[in-house]
């Protein structure tokens, strides 16, 4: 992801995992970074394995969904920055002449609209489902990631 910050993805993912499956935090610390690359999958059907798989493991889904959301947000910010770049540049130049415009407010940070937050949730949901997560759990995961976008520190 161009410009994406791996540590940001892991930080957000850790928050989400602590909400959804706090028991996995120790495994998250051991494996989370591994899922920043494409996961290796389930190794196919194991003929000689136990034959019944553990049913709930959210860490790889959280990391991958968060990664997709961060990617989406990067696009949103890039686009917003591009559209507002002229006025923002003029504003910053104007602010350089402090004695004329010392009381002008700083340019506002990029704000996400409700539609964009919904879109980010949709991205997380789609990614989780594409990775094979059940719809119910994928919804929980998508909600948790979207919550990170609206929750104050």
């Amino acid at each position: 992801v161009p410009g994406a910050d791996d540590s940001l993805i892991l930080d957000v993912s850790r928050h989400v995992v602590s909400d959804l499956a706090p028991g996995e935090l120790e495994v998250f610390d051991a494996t989370g970074d591994a899922y920043l690359e494409a996961p290796a999958g389930k190794d196919g059907e194991e003929m000689l394995g136990f034959g019944v798989e553990a049913v709930a493991f959210v860490t790889p889904f959280v990391v991958m969904a968060t990664k997709a959301v961060v990617s989406y947000l990067s696009e949103v910010v890039s686009k917003a920055l591009k559209e507002e770049s002229d006025s923002v540049v003029a504003g910053y130049v104007k602010r350089l002449f402090r004695r004329f415009h010392d009381d002008d407010p700083e340019p506002a940070p990029v704000q996400l609209s409700l539609a964009e937050i919904k879109k980010a949730r949709e991205v997380a949901l789609t990614e989780a489902k594409a990775l094979g997560m059940k719809a119910e759990r994928a919804n929980l995961l998508a909600n948790a990631i979207a919550g990170e976008l609206v929750t104050q520190a």
């Binding site: 996995e24 120790e26 494996t31 899922y35 996961p39 190794d43 000689l48 049913v55 493991f57």
Partner: protein
Amino acid sequence: VSARANPFCGPSDTTFRFVLLVVAAVAAGAFAWDALWLASNRDRYVSTLVACQNRVGADPRFDPTFGGLQDRDHAVQRCLGHLSREQALWSGLGAVGVIIVAVLVVAALPAWKIRRRRLQPVAEKLPAVVARVGAVAAEEGITHSPDVLWNRRSTGGDALAFGVPGHYRIALGPALVAQQYTDAPAFDAVIRHELAHIANRDVVLTYLANAIWYSWCVVALVPLTIGLAASEPSFLYPVGWRVAVMTALIYLTRNGLLRAREQYADVRASRRDGPDGAMARVLDAAPRRAVDRRPALLRWHPSTTERLAIVRDPTPLLRLGVLDAFAAGLAGGIAIPTASNFVLHLTSGGTAVTTGTAAAVAVVGALLGAVFGAAVWRAGVAVRTSGPGGAVPVLVALALAAGVLVAHPLSLSAAAEVRFLPTTITEFGALAATLVAIVAVYLWAVDVADGFLDVRTPRRPLMATVMGATALALAWAVTLGVTFSDYASGLAQFTGLAGFLGFDADNWRSLSDLLLYRAKTTHLDWVVWAAVAGLPLAAVAWTRRRARPADPPPAWAYLELPAPGTRWRRLGGITVQPALVAGLVGGAAGTVVVLAGRLVYRGLAGDDANELWRRVRVGNALFWIGAGAVLVTAAVVAARSRRLPMAMAMLAGLVTTLVAAAGTVAASAVLGDHLDADYIGDLARPIIGLGLFAALLGASLGVGARAVAHAVRPARAEARAGPVGWIAVAVGAAVLLATVGTAVALAGGTAPVAFDYRDFALSDGFAIVTEVDELKREIQALSPVLVDQVEPLRSSIVPKFRALHDRAAAGLTQTRPVTELRERLAADLTTAADELESYASAVEHGDGPGTKRAVDGFSAALQRIEGAGTELVAHVG
């Protein structure tokens, strides 16, 4: 809650199926490469074989009769020499190749698996998980904890044990690792399951089984397919479908092994917290979408429903199923002729040619016998812990025999001959006798296990006794079967007989030959019979000294300690007296029948030497009737015995036979026969040999009848008959048998003329005619000076003609046409000798007309002798 049966009380199904797989794969590998060799060397082989057969056939040192068949076969094998050994080498290469490649795959597999799945030690990131696995391993008694590996990038949650003894590994999916923190008991249950594979020692067996399947495909299937594609189409079909059956057997046995190992691991993993503990919970919570929709036989894992049921009650693991028995019969049926042929070809030209094949067959039989011994032991434990259930023993035994029967046309020799089933009644009889022996051995092994389970401890020696006894018994049965089969196929070369169902005299004669051959060639019947009757009874005697019914059951038979007061289930007391009484009654009835037969023999058959066959037939019928008495007695006893039916029936049959044999000898003495050791031996040995088989058949039928009766009307089947009922049934059946047997022996039917021609031609007729030809050439080579002919005629040629007359006159014939031929031949030989004598006298006295008369008379006699030779050839071929 009652304690669960312990499926670890003996070698498991995993081992059972692994042995079957190895036997099947080795035999199939040998078959495939044997066929491959034949496909590319067929013409060379056939031409060499024909040349060898012709060379041996023309060699006068070999007896051309049936009696010389074995020597001639060995001579042909010696003649084939290097070709046979080359064939054996290919066959051995196929067998060994499949196994060696599989072993190499298993040796290389751990490193390959680690590399392919990018497995790394879990300890680098989560040492706590490794510590937990070590703790669980210690709880399970595994001293060397396996390495714990994972692929951090995997999303899976499965677990997998692999590696080799001394260095096992467990690969865990990250999802499972996470479960240690979210659901530790479930994590422990899965780890216990994987550790159970290590404790069950099935890891290497499983990977070997898997590798054998792939090895079979690569080492045997691919080369054979290429070889067959390049060979004649006529070879493709008969070999192709046989290989397809073997492939299916190997594949399905491999799958069966994979399923069995999972169930055993589940049960072992559940021992710590019981049938409703964490293992059951893990299986119960398994996602239902993961249900495998393939047919059960094709699956690698049992369904979670089946696994859950087995964790709650492992008893089904202890019972031998019909499919396993059928597969075992099939594997054995394929392996035995393959092993026999391999050793025959390998030892071609050596002295081990006879003993080697028998030893190979015995080894395969013993191996399968040991496996079945373990199976009946386990099934016996299931009956004691959980009561009767599963397939009844007689059904399992029939499935085993059915497997052998189905395997019969799978051999390469059958493929070459395009013969699926026996074509003569003797071959049919040999196959039937083999199947009866196999069924009987299995049912007997069930009794042996039942008897020794009563003793309870020590477990290992008791189980080893059952396995050893079954191994020996099955080795005996299959070796006997191969001997019978060799004899019958040899006999088939001499005679093509009519259908099985006709009561043609020649058919009767053929079966009598089989029995007489059996009686003359075995000295083991007493030993076998004594062991068959004695071993289960020895266990009973041992039990009476060591254990009381009220004693607690042995702890080794349960996974959990059985509740106080739990009884070691017994299916009823064991009483020997009814079997002894039935044996005495059956023997007495048999004696009466034999005595009556002897009187019939004297009174009705008469002394007409030209119809000797009728007396022979009555004589043979006496053996059959005696065998019938044993069969009926054994069947009745087996059907009426709740405990140890086979052992009781064999005991009753033994008593019947002893009484009947003693009665027959006594009757012979009363009727004026001269008794000496040889006479008694000739009389008693067929009775004992035939009686043993009759008892085995009767006992098997009795057990089968009891099973059917139990299925139809359980309450009535359990009712006990009194001794009077037993005696009435035995006597009634013996009288019926006597009547039917004597009637069949005497009534109608055609004389065994074809056999008589064959016997006389092969024993004396052909030899006499050939010798006369030689003498004719000697006469033609005499000096042209007449007086010089006199001395060689008188000193050599005339005595030779007279000796030939004596041989012809002493020849054994049974029917009128052959007897008349023999008498004509003898008379013509005398005439020839007389005319030559007259010729010599006429020459000495210068009597020209006398000389001419003698020459004419001699020529006429010679023509008649040649005519007799032509007649013999016309009847024998």
